[in-house]
Amino acid sequence: MTALANAIVIDNIGMVFGAGLGAVRALDGVSLEIGSNEFFTLLGPSGCGKTTLLRLIAGFEQPSTGSISLYGQRLEGLMPFERPVNTVFQSYALFPHMSVAQNIAFGLEMQRKPRLEVQKIVADMLELVQLTGFEARKPAQLSGGQQQRVALARALANRPKVLLLDESLSALDAKLRKEMQLELKRLQLETGITFVFVTHDQEEALTMSDRIAVMKNGKLEQIGTPTEIYDFPRSRYVADFIGETNFLTGIAEANGLRLPDSQWLEVTHSRPPGSSVDVAVRPERAQIARDTNGLNAVVREVVYVGTDTVVYLEIAKEVFRVRMQNHGGAAKMVSVGDQIKLVIPPNAVRILEAES
């Protein structure tokens, strides 16, 4: 059944809230295909439309234009309770008058699962989210992170075909978050559930996702695997949003760019000569040297960050960061004020699309 390889097909979705002057275009021509059992992440800054897209898939809103299909079935007109999809809400939305166990059991009871089965699943879920012993508590008696885990358990208990998670790990501390990330990945592999995960934490997106969609103002900016997104950002926006990046702007000439301070950056590109070109370079792909060919730069700051040292350079009036691993001892060579050479391998330079 290869025809069912796509769990979700989102076709040219547009979403406008309100009308007239107060109208907000939350989504604009979004098309996506999410594979079955894929861990798909929507990544973008606050207000870019991530929650809106999830709400459309769950059925809480109807799209202004376009359509959504789930395993080949068009979702138009299907109420949320008719969709094999469960949501972990950004605000948890736990039922305040029910205990933790009752919250988790709710979806199973609505589906009329036998009582013994419900009890077993609830116990399993509590164990999964490490809340065994909390079954009788009310949501108000839990910390934010604990509430978030109950919300996760409540949705997962139903074993939906598609699980929608809206910033569902954001309230957890670093250690628990790492554990839950691993648990979610394990669950995804074991259960075959398709995960649509919303976050604005790029590191979380990179570690967990099979593919990432970077969103900007209601539009898709780039879709790709974490490596594609990290190593080949299409635009300045994506490069800036994912990981640390240095930007340089130069005028295109054959086989390179002329930087504003007339230094020469070697890179293969296909832009017409004379046009202004933005490039991105990851801090760990550049090196500092003394007696080689390279760009002239001045050391402005040296910051020790445990495994690495980050050196802030000034080049062409811009700040340029270089990240070096500490075990090699290279970082010890530089100190503030030094005139050094900045070596940027041509294959580390990413040509960015001209901003529209």
Partner: protein, 262 residues
């Protein structure tokens, strides 16, 4: 918050006003209660303590019938008006903002209209449609004027309800009525209970409208007490009033404790 020790917030003469206010409010009630235990016939001179008037009240068939009428009317009016009010509040919750405001205004307006106007209007209406005055007309009138009282606390509670909870219920496969029964209703319950109690008190207490639309056989307690007063203040009146006061106090306290929960 205003610091209670801040001298800028001291207005010495206000204390006197406050004492006067409380005196006028509570002294009459206290006198009434004390005199209801007075053995003396003349209602205003104290002799010795006795339960005689309470015995009289409880043996007076007219008073008992009036009390029974009052209870029947109040119970029916409370149940029916609370159900209507709940349906109205829940039904309006999903509507457009403007429609909600208009609706709230219409429901709340009778609270501002002078009661005598409603009373006359109700009487005319019943006469016009040819309904014979009696317990039925009293009950209909009470149901109607109790609805706004029941509606307000329910609606206030509903406004505090997170709409995400209904979405969550729906997401977890609850159909609209299941979501209502399992999520909306339990969360509204404190509002519904205090609405019902307000309706009950209002109905028990009503005089003007009842006086107009009650037929001969449908006398309620307030109307009966009014009738007794016209033939002079008897200690029996003190006793019934004290009983009514005690009953209201219990209901108000119950409603307070229920609304305090959560």
């Amino acid at each position: 918050m205003i610091n209670p020790r801040n001298p800028l917030w001291r207005y010495p003469s206000l204390g006197v006003l406050m004492v006067a206010f409380f005196a006028f409010l509570y002294v009459p009630i206290i006198v009434l209660i004390v005199l209801s235990f007075n053995q003396n016939q003349t209602a205003t001179i104290w002799t010795t303590f006795s339960f005689d008037w309470y015995k009289n009240v409880l043996e007076n068939p007219n008073i008992l019938r009036a009390a029974q009428n009052s209870l029947i009317v109040a119970l029916v009016a409370t149940v029916v008006s609370t159900v209507f009010a709940t349906m109205a509040a829940v039904g309006m919750a999903g509507k457009a903002f403007k429609a909600q405001n208009a609706f709230n205004g219409l429901v709340g307006l009778p609270l501002l209209v002078p009661e005598i106007v409603t009373a006359v209007a109700s009487l005319l209406f019943f006469l016009a449609i040819g309904l014979e005055l009696g317990l039925t007309t009293v009950i209909i009138a009470h149901v109607v004027f109790c609805i706004p009282f029941a509606y307000l606390p329910i609606r206030a509670r509903l406004e505090g309800l997170d709409p995400k909870l209904l979405e969550a219920a729906s997401d977890l496969y609850a159909r609209p009525w299941q979501a209502f029964a399992r999520v909306t209703l339990p969360l509204l319950l404190p509002g519904i209970v205090s609405g019902a109690m307000l309706a009950f008190i209002t109905s028990m207490d009503d005089f003007v409208i009842t006086f107009f639309v009650a037929g001969a056989g449908a006398t309620t307690l307030p109307v009966y007490i009014f009738g007794m007063i016209r033939t002079g203040i008897s200690p029996e009146v003190n006793a019934i009033s004290t009983l009514l006061f005690a009953a209201s106090l219990v209901i108000v306290m119950l409603s307070f404790f229920i609304s305090q929960k959560k």
